[in-house]
């Protein structure tokens, strides 16, 4: 297979890659000009035809989401761009924002034209200080150049783009949590329906899209839907519900690999290719024990499952929750899965918003049970207790409003399904891997 030439990351690392002048020299904002010459519905159709699915985690087809907006709505319609990237292991949005902000802003302008929105808010996690400053400057450049403002590129289209900083809460990445937070409230997700496209931000029709999705929109308009669809994994003709996995994807590789980083590859690369060909293998001559396929809320692949393609369908076939954010975290064979699972549970316990009891209590108790096991005080029946708690929380069993809980349960389910003997041996031998260091950050 010929080596894939990066598109989304093409300008990353080049001199002055964040400046409007270099972006325009590289052909920037031509796609926006093209889009503005088309009726909005035609732009939506191009995005629909491309097969683009949202890059933020859920993988919903972007163009289809846009068609859920009410027809002939008098407005306002809002675009809320999700830049709250917080899923452990994920950092591709940060790289795009820091290195090539105009690629994103162009996608935002194209999307706003398509969905007839005159205002876009970029909800940016507070921790991304550099992203904030780079985007702030890029937005100023756009206003000064007439790309944003009352008369976008002389077409009469009005567009305002505002940056809105979050306050360090994972739940704000959930689209309705994001909306509540943007409105100035606690980020408690809303019951759906109504979906945001019908009633979202400030009670108006709203589209929530991820940063990487916006960058993809720019290239789809620039290069055409057919180009996008020529990359990745086509839909399975035997499965009418499969929407395919088209386009390039930014895979984030971290953990026990020699060359961690963000790699742009066609959707469908395997974890093994990522680790061995791109990541330079596992350090210290160790082997892979487990791999997180797409952020910790997607669960784990075992060492014998590394040849599963990381497209929208692959991880699910191995019992994972999905592709998620395509953040691949490699765990070597010198690491205890008990420790790894404790770390995951502690994260979700800390980040549960507290609105739904099964999630608030479930994440906290799973963390406490694992802490007990790691103190050498566990019992074998604790493993069934963990599974019972994990099985009773989430949208899938029907006990919570949002999917945080499903994501909290999944690592527990996968770990106990794929690594149970290790957990049993740990408990039987009354091992304890609590590190003195951890007393400082105890839950």
């Amino acid at each position: 297979m010929p080596k894939f030439k990066p598109v989304l990351l093409a300008r990353v690392g080049k001199p002055d890659s964040a400046l409007l002048s270099t972006y325009q020299r590289d052909g920037g904002y031509e796609a926006l000009k093209k889009a503005l010459s088309m009726p909005p519905d035609d732009v939506i159709n191009v995005v629909k035809e491309s097969g683009l699915r949202g890059r933020g985690g859920a993988g919903f087809p972007t163009g289809v989401k846009w068609t859920f907006l009410p027809k002939g709505h008098p407005g306002p319609i809002y675009l809320a761009v999700n830049a709250d990237e917080s899923e452990p292991g994920t950092f591709n949005n940060r790289i795009l924002m820091e290195e090539d902000p105009h690629q994103i802003l162009e996608g935002i302008a194209i999307s706003c034209h398509a969905i007839r929105a005159n205002t876009a808010y970029i909800y940016l996690r507070y921790e991304y200080g550099k992203s904030y400053r780079v985007l702030e400057r890029a937005i100023e450049e756009c206003y000064a150049a007439g790309i944003f403002g009352g008369n976008v590129l002389g077409t009469g289209f009005r567009l305002d783009v505002y940056l809105h900083r979050g306050a360090a809460a994972y739940i704000c990445g959930e689209e309705t949590g994001l909306i509540e937070s943007l409105e100035g409230k606690r980020a408690w997700p809303r019951i759906k329906p109504p979906f945001p496209a019908i009633e979202g931000l400030f009670r108006k029709p709203t589209i929530v899209n991820n940063i990487e999705t916006m960058a993809c929109v720019t290239h789809i308009l620039g290069r055409g839907a057919a180009w996008f669809k020529s990359i990745g994994v086509p839909a399975d003709p035997a499965n009418p519900r499969d929407a395919g996995s088209y386009g390039p994807k930014l895979y984030c590789l971290s953990g026990h690999v020699n060359r961690p980083g963000c790699y742009e590859l066609p959707l469908g690369v395997t974890a093994r290719e990522l680790i061995e060909e791109h990541g330079g293998g596992v350090p210290h001559g160790r082997n892979v024990k487990a791999v997180v396929p797409g952020g910790i809320s997607m669960g784990f692949l075992a060492a014998h499952e590394l040849d599963i393609p990381l497209d929208f369908n692959g991880p699910g076939k191995a019992g994972c929750l999905g592709l998620g954010t395509a953040a691949v975290i490699v765990i070597d064979d010198a690491t205890s899965m008990v420790d790894v699972l404790y770390n995951c549970c502690r994260f979700f316990s800390h980040e549960s918003c507290g609105q739904c009891t099964p999630c608030r209590e479930g994440t906290a108790w799973m963390t406490k049970i694992l802490h007990r096991i790691r103190s050498g005080q566990g019992e074998l029946r604790d493993l069934d207790l963990l599974l019972e708690v994990a099985g009773s929380m989430g949208i899938i069993p029907g006990t919570t409003i949002c999917g945080l809980s499903d994501g909290a349960a999944w690592p527990v389910k996968n770990a106990l399904q794929k690594f149970r003997p290790e957990f049993e041996a740990y408990i039987r031998e009354r091992r304890s891997t609590l590190k003195p260091a951890e007393m400082w950050s105890a839950h």
């Binding site: 452990p88 900083r165 360090a168 100035g184 400082w440």
Partner: protein, 157 residues
């Protein structure tokens, strides 16, 4: 005696035009106040509420949801240093780095050094996993941080 200065009030009200209602300025206002005073006092909450035409309880409800904001009993030091403890960093020594900084600064996570200079915190994933373990100093990220490198960063603050 009001605690918000005229300039802070102006900066807050200048954001009204961006949103269809004033409540949406809650987070920006809280950020602005905490940045300036290193905490958000109850009096500041009341004054923000008055500006945004909300009840103080509404502003306080939002503020207390985000562990990010500190009340007057728990003010921040001059700098806030976050050490990531999530999986990618933990696999590469994040917890040990946090422990080393706790010992070096004689504080537990969430506490501020005796000289009021540094508040140390643990963080969940900071989104810099390719440079694990990473830390955030105020809102600037540092990657591949060892205890020695951290000490150097803190010394230069």
């Amino acid at each position: 005696m009001p605690v918000l200065t005229d300039s802070m009030r102006e900066r807050i009200t200048s954001l009204f035009a961006r949103y269809p209602n004033k409540q949406a300025v809650t987070l920006p206002a809280l950020h602005l106040v905490q940045q300036e005073f290193r905490h958000v006092s109850l009096e500041a909450v009341k004054e923000i509420a008055a500006l945004l035409e909300l009840r103080p309880a509404e502003v306080h409800d939002t503020m207390s949801f985000y562990g990010f904001f500190r009340d007057e009993q728990h003010p921040l030091g001059q700098h806030r240093v976050w050490v990531c403890r999530s999986l990618s960093c933990a696999l590469r020594g994040g917890e040990e780095l946090l422990a080393a900084l706790c010992e070096r600064l004689h504080v537990r996570p969430g506490e501020t050094t005796a000289d009021g200079k540094i508040t140390l915190e643990f963080a969940e994933c900071l989104g810099a996993c390719e440079g694990a373990p990473c830390i955030l100093v105020d809102d600037q990220c540092a990657m591949h941080v060892t205890a020695e490198k951290a000490e150097q960063i803190l010394r230069n603050l």
